[in-house]
Structures are given as C-alpha cells and as structure tokens.
Symmetry: none
Subunit: 201 residues, 4 copies
Amino acid sequence: MVRKLLKEKKREEIVKVASRLFSERGFYNTTIPDIAEAVGMSVGNFYNYFESKEDLAKYIMQYSSSILGEEIRKISQMDVSTKEKVFLIVRRFIEIAQERPELIDYFLRIFLSNREVFSEGCEGFLCVGEVVTELMLFLEEGARKGDFRQQDFFPAFVTIMGPLGGLVFLKGEGILPKNPIEYANEIGENIWRALKSDEKV
Amino acid sequence: MVRKLLKEKKREEIVKVASRLFSERGFYNTTIPDIAEAVGMSVGNFYNYFESKEDLAKYIMQYSSSILGEEIRKISQMDVSTKEKVFLIVRRFIEIAQERPELIDYFLRIFLSNREVFSEGCEGFLCVGEVVTELMLFLEEGARKGDFRQQDFFPAFVTIMGPLGGLVFLKGEGILPKNPIEYANEIGENIWRALKSDEKV
Amino acid sequence: MVRKLLKEKKREEIVKVASRLFSERGFYNTTIPDIAEAVGMSVGNFYNYFESKEDLAKYIMQYSSSILGEEIRKISQMDVSTKEKVFLIVRRFIEIAQERPELIDYFLRIFLSNREVFSEGCEGFLCVGEVVTELMLFLEEGARKGDFRQQDFFPAFVTIMGPLGGLVFLKGEGILPKNPIEYANEIGENIWRALKSDEKV
Amino acid sequence: MVRKLLKEKKREEIVKVASRLFSERGFYNTTIPDIAEAVGMSVGNFYNYFESKEDLAKYIMQYSSSILGEEIRKISQMDVSTKEKVFLIVRRFIEIAQERPELIDYFLRIFLSNREVFSEGCEGFLCVGEVVTELMLFLEEGARKGDFRQQDFFPAFVTIMGPLGGLVFLKGEGILPKNPIEYANEIGENIWRALKSDEKV
DNA sequence: TATGAATGAGTTTTCATTCAT
DNA sequence: GATGAATGAAAACTCATTCAT
C-alpha cells in the first residue's frame, strides 16, 4: 500500500523534472542520465519507474493533457456567460504557461514536433484527448446556446488553440515585450469575435 | 561563375530533399547519410555544401521563410480589399502546405520544437524574419486603412498564424475529415472577424 | 533441523525453475529477476539461497549430473547382459530428456557452451563427475567381462555420450521427424556395435 | 572494385578474430570493443562491416560450416573405400580442431549453446547446412554401395558427429591425457563398426 | 527470512564529422 | 569536387548484486 504510493510519488517527481528538462532542451537533447541526476536517482533506478524514454514522454503528454483538460472543464462548467468563459480560458492558459511552463511548452516542443516519439498507442489526438474533448464540449454548448456561430469543429478548435499556442511559443522565444498575461484580453477578444454569433456583442 | 551556380543548384537539391526528410522523420531521426543517399551523393561530399547539420537546418529555415514571406508580400500588394487579402493568405498558406508540405511542416516540426538547433546566428524570429516582416507590414497597412482594429502586433500575429499552424498540424496528424482547403473559408472568416474593425462587414 | 530442510526444499524449487529457464533461454538471457518471479519469491530473497548466479549454475550442473549418474548406476547394477545395459542406458537417457528436458538441455546448452561460468571450483569433469564415474565403471566392467573391446576410456566415453547428446540437440532444434524414443534402438545398436568385442553378437 | 575486395578482406579479418574470441570467452563475454580492439579498428567502424553482433555470429557459423562441409566433400569424393573415408573424416575433423580450433569450438560453444542468437534466418540446421548436406550424401552413398547398414539419417548423423564433437569438447576441457589425434584411430574404428554392414570387415 | 528499490558499471549501437585517396 | 572508410564520444538500456526496512 505505502510502497505503491511512494512509487507513484516518485513517478510524479520524475515527470515534473523531466517535463521541465524536455521543454528546456528538447527531447533528444535530454538524456536519461540528465533526468536521473536532476531527480537525484541512479540511471538504473529510473527504469524501475518508466519502461523507456518514450514511455515517459507519452506519460507526460497524457498527464499534461489531463491537467489542461481539467482546467478547461472547470471553466466550462462555471455559471458565467460564454464570452466570459472564452476570456477565462485564455487567461487560465496563459497563467498555466507561466506557473508551470513545462506543461504547455512540453506540448508545443515535444508533442508537436517529435511526433515519431508518440507513434503507437498515443498518436495524435489520443494523447491529448482530454483537452480536445473538453474544448469540443465547450464549443458545442456555446453553439447550442446560440453564442457561437455554427461551424465545423476543426476550424473552431484551431481558432482557439492556435493563438494560445502561438503566444506561448513567442514567450518561449523571449521576444514578447510585455508579460504574456497582458495580451490575454486582446487575444480573448480576438477569439471571441472570431467565434461569436452575429447577435452577440 | 558557372561553378558558383552549379554549387547553388546542388545546395537547393540538398535543401529540398533534406527538408522533406526532416519534416517526415524529425530532425534527430534524419542522419547525414540518409540525406546524402537520398540526394545521391556521398557523405563526405555533403560537407562541401554545408558546414554542418545545423547549418543546413538554419539554411532551410530561412529558405522556407523567404518563400512564405514572398507569397505573403505578393498578396499584400494586390489591389483587393483587406478582407479579401486575409482570405487569400489563408488559402495560399493551405495550398502551399499541400503543394510543398515540407516547407510548412519543417517550420512546425523542426523549428518549433528543436529550437536548440537554431541558437546562435538564427535565433527565434531572426530565422523566420521574412514571414514576420511581411505580416507586420500587412497588419499595419490594414490598421492604417481602418480595416483592422488597432492592436498590438503580437496578439494579431498569433491570431493569424496560430490557426493556420494548427490546421497544418491537424493535417499532419491525419485526423482532418475533409481536405484542408475546404476549411479555408471558415478559418479566413474567423481570422477576419477576429481582427476587423467594427465598421467592417 | 526443520529450517535446514525448508531451506533445502526452496533450493530445489529454485533449481527446478532455473534449470528450465536456463535451458530454454540460455544462461545470459535468464536474469535473476526472471528466476525469482518464476519461483514466486523476491530478488533479494534469492540471494539467501544462492550466493550468486554462477553459484546457482554450478549447483544445477552437479545436481543434474548426480541424477543422471544415479540412473546409469541403477542400470549398471542390473542383472542383465552388457548389450542389454547399453540399450537400457540409451533408452533411459532419451526418456529423461523427454520427462525432464531441463536436466539434459541444461548440460548441453549451459555447461557445454558457457564454460567460463564454471571456472573455479567446478571445472570440466569435476562438475559432471558422477556421470563420468558411473560410465567409467560400466565400461571397465564390460571390458573385464570381455563384452567390450579393450580401448582407452575417452574414445569409448564419447562414443556413448556423443550420439546421445547429439540426438537431444537435434530434438531441441525441433528437426527430428519422429519421437526421439523411436531412435533409441538404432542408436543403441550403433553404440553396441561400436564398442562390443568381436566375439559378441 | 578494389574497394569491394578490401572490404571483403576486412570482413574475413574480423571473422577470424571474432571466432577466436567467441570460442575462447563465449559469445556473451566477448564485447564489440574487444573485437574491434583485437582487429585494430574502431568500434564504430566495426558496424560498417557487420550490422550487429548477431549478424556477425550468424556469418561466422555459415562460414565455418562451409569450410567444414568442403573438407567432408573432398574426402567423400576421393577414390578410396568407405571405411577409409570414415577414418579420414575423423582424422581431418580432429586436425582442423587443432589447426583452427575456433572453427569447431565456435560450433560447439556458440551455436550449440546460444541458440537464441541464431533465431530468425539461421535457425538450427539452416546455419550448418553444408556439413549436414555433405554427411547426408556420404551416408547415402555408403549405404547404396552396401558398406553401411540401412538406417535413418539422424541416428547415423549423431553417431558420426557426436563422438567427434565430444572429443573436441574434452580437448577444450584440457582433460585429454594424449594429443587428440592419437584417438583418431579408435574413434574411427568405433564409428566404422557402428555403421558398417555386417559383411564388411 | 522476505521485500523490492537502488546502484552503476557495462553493453550494443548510432552518427556527425574528418580525411586519405 | 567526390568518395566512403574511419573515428570515438555519447546514447538508451540492462542486470547482478546490495541493503534499508
């Protein structure tokens, strides 16, 4: 019992350290010894927790996705207007990118660009399922209420996630002149205008 | 003279093959022998054309960016409405992603995710300078004409490039149910609505 | 007392499982965790019963040899003709190879081919002493009685054990078209003819 | 042209060194760096000649088998009596075991005992095909001439190869009191008596 | 006795780059 | 310019053994 829990704790620790290293240096420039050292464990012991480097990468992806998905769901279920929710999602996404940059950066850097790592058992959307699911529900509800124009899921999806990902990317590049959160309102406004139905303000 | 030209031709050939391989397999999963073989030259000879693998990667990045920038500039200078231009840019971007997928995929996969490769001499925006410059000019002109709302460059930039990058990503994942070009209008509409000033239709 | 016995029981259990695994997968492809798991004990506990992997290997060798030696002795002491004994030994050897394949396979695969494992304390014939001793006695008695031609021990030894080992090897390769026991008579006949003195039939 | 030949020469060199090391130390106790160093080349370069350690092992097996098969064929085609041929094969086998011990030892130690290495593409008899084929032809011809008793191939095969393998094994164990060749006649006699038809002397 | 997490040296294999030809 | 064999550092992963509990 206790052992199981301890093992789970250790896994989380590895995940935290590794997602940071991966998003800082890239997947292929982070070695298992790097991770082990940063966690303070031996290389061999690492393999008691994850079967392989790929296994770890997939686990992190799903872990990140479930956290992000959870955040979106929380907002989605609030008792506020759809417009308000759009702004909240944008703001929350940017906050997380600052509080736990590895979560989002990992997605951008590792998942987006090292797809070969995720083949088999965690391809494409499977890996980020929770984020997608929650956004889909949010978009559908907004459309049902008449707040969003009727449109295909995919254009709407990229209209939300694209600008957010882009902003985080620019943040990572270190070229944003202001604190990212200061762009939250403008981006929220853009996304809302992009999706809202014509009657809405 | 002639030699210079021949050398340039060979470089282009390498660039074409390499950008395809890089975007198919990822930067770290494409070896110099792979590239040399695909081009039909020897490994040693490759190094007569590019100093290193990184050197090649940077060159490709700038090459792609100059082509994309050129396409944006062409549209930007057309004698059509700003709204029309937004739709044209979206459409052209998606077309290029289909005609020469390596150009866009390379950007998404290699640049976005393997930033460590591009440090020194080609950091961040430097590498994609032309696309950024052209979009900046386009946005400024649109705002000056009163077609776009006044806003910071960066939110506007990600509002255009984010959805486009996102769509290409989804295309790469093979999960789009329709041909990407069929989403062009919806995405163009979203972007236009996101950016246009209130008087515009 | 009781403790000693329990310990011996557990050792036998380990020996049984390990000899099977070793002969199935080879010495170097069988890990201590593999053995421990198959026995249903922990890795650490394994080391309460055997000092090392090599220690275990040597123990198994001697264990197998003592069982085989015992079988030969039984036959050797029967009240039947020398010719009959040759046929019985052949038959018994093949039977054991079928009933307890690990015993013989272990000898063929592990001892024959991983001699380096057995250096120090169990070299060569020391390890298989009992089989050798019993065969030596059997051959001497046969010669004394005038049933076998007079000859050096070693040629005679390999003339008996060689074909038997060869047959088991072929069985392990899965290429024998018939059940091994069906070759017993032919092989017995060959061995008997090879060794018998000229007066015998 | 020349390059191809040089490459083949180097492969042979590797094969010679590696088969010696393998048969001295065992397959799993010989590392690629060991082999590379003994050949006088770098580790990386080794992989320009063989795809993997297994690949090398299989190659050596077939190489050895073709040499042994060739020797058997030479004797098989001589214009001497079948009895004489049996004695010549025994003698030649023992000679080779002394002149080029790695050839035979390799078979005994590596092939016999590390079968897992040879799975896929070189299983069992496939790998030693030439020896088997030549012996089969020899046995058939002898039976046709009426020199050998009629019997199944497999018992006859192990009756020849078993004692020979056994002798080499004992030689490797360092326990033979005499030079192996001195046992040639006795073993030849045993094998001949084992197989010959009753009319023969 | 029993457990299994922890260790770390050791293994195979890869690959950017060089350089003699 | 062109070739491809050669280099060697570095990577992922393994596993016998130990030891705190």
